[in-house]
Symmetry: C2
Subunit: 242 residues, 2 copies
DNA sequence: CCGTAGCGGATGTCCCATGTCCCCTGAGCG
DNA sequence: CGCTCAGGGGACATGGGACATCCGCTACGG
């Protein structure tokens, strides 16, 4: 190597170096007090600033993009991204699909976690819910019932329902997490065959939840949610054991 | 180009292509029925199989590594990885640190989610807990008390405590998630200045939780956990508003 | 005044060369 | 016969360069 570069000595595992590089980039963002939406330096500037080659840098950059830390716009630049959990979803979907080949363990665990979150937080959410938000929830239920009557699947309406249920908490992290779980479940759902389910029954379960929320009965709401999840769990078990 | 390659026409956004490539790799793993620990084809083979250049492929590979889907061992090969949420932690840590510059909103949301999980699942965990596991929990408490008496911080013992609390559930996803939250909190903790906290008081809170668990009093255990989280929340708020 | 073609800059993709690391193997030794 | 360790070969890591592609901006022309 022509230049007396300082890289060679401190050689840890490659993985550690990559992580260190990612950390350096994140630290650089924090040091420069960049906010969501602000532009990062160009790739070349970062190469120089961090003392690594473009390929190496780009690998880290792509990871940060996947992690939802930065957003890369082809031909324009790189920016600090708003929250984004897409990547987590992809990882979990993979895990879940892998586990479905055996006993569906991870898929069931995911339902458990989701149940704990939803059943555990429905009470707090009900404390803060507004009439408007309540109306939005009922709208989702109505849409589900209409689609069920027409014999069509209603994944979007179902997703909306759960999002709106916890909108009052104003907790973006929670909504993101639930969104991820939802996305994973949706994928699993199509994988294990969606045909067998009873659309009308699912819609009815959701209406029960809505009724409990509207009545302000926290315990019942949590109970109805639990029943809903029991159904999901059973469907996964059936699909795996068959 | 000599070969009538099919790549050029279908040109979507770069981001979409990268995601598609990641999906292709994951599908390839699933198609070949690879299990955790199995080796993937070499980089060159994947280049050919997927029809992309090595750098492009490597960017996707690094993302999958960060997502915990694969494990890359320098000089040996690539393997399907066991569950791993390190990446998520890094992303969340970044978000949390970014938010601490403002109102610490994301950090507080994270505590809310963690509280919902722990308070919501402590009951189920207590249903399954064995005497052995209970002893392990007490051991963690004792260690915390000893360290507190010595005036030393006890992050590891604290982490152990919470892990063991939910070990009986045998839910790896949950333990991973809690581990992530813990890691983020730990980072935040050092960032907002750890000195101000009352070690003995924190240790005492943990002993209260243990006592409730040992007594089999689910409601009290959930209540004590909630008190613990209230303390964390207050500490974050104090650090931000100062 | 407005639409559009062209320009500059930034990212996307790819190849090649070389460095580095790890597992495996087999020769040598006790 | 079994163990140790040096070497080989395969695979990943890193860096640099070239070219393609895309985006936003601007200046030209109607």
């Amino acid at each position: 190597m022509p230049s007396p570069n300082i890289v060679p000595p401190a050689r840890f595992s490659a993985q550690a170096r990559l992580r260190a590089l990612q950390s350096d980039i994140m630290d650089l963002i924090l040091d420069r007090e960049l906010e969501a939406g602000d532009a990062l330096p160009t790739e070349n500037e970062l190469c120089i600033a961090l003392g690594v080659g473009r390929n190496t840098l780009r690998e880290s950059l792509k990871v940060l993009q996947a992690l939802g830390v930065i957003e890369i716009r082809h031909g324009f630049g790189m920016f600090v991204a708003p929250s984004n959990f897409e990547a987590l979803a992809d990882g979990l979907i993979f895990r879940a699909r892998l586990s479905l080949r055996h006993h569906g363990l991870e898929a069931l665990q995911l339902v458990d976690v989701r149940q704990a979150l939803e059943s555990g937080l429905i009470g707090s959410s009900m404390d803060l819910i507004t009439a408007e938000q309540l109306a939005g929830i009922e709208e989702s239920v109505v849409r589900m019932e209409e689609l069920a009557a027409a014999g069509e699947s209603f994944v979007d309406a179902d997703s909306d329902f759960h999002s709106r249920l916890f909108e009052p908490l104003n907790n973006e992290l929670l909504l993101n997490l639930l969104g991820v779980f939802w996305k994973v479940y949706r994928k699993i759902h199509t994988e294990i065959g969606a045909g067998a389910e009873d659309l009308a029954a699912v819609a009815a379960l959701h209406r029960n939840v809505y009724a409990a929320v509207a009545a302000g009965d926290k315990a019942r709401a949590a109970r109805e949610l639990t029943r809903h999840f029991d159904g999901i769990r059973r469907r996964i078990s059936d699909a795996v054991t068959e």
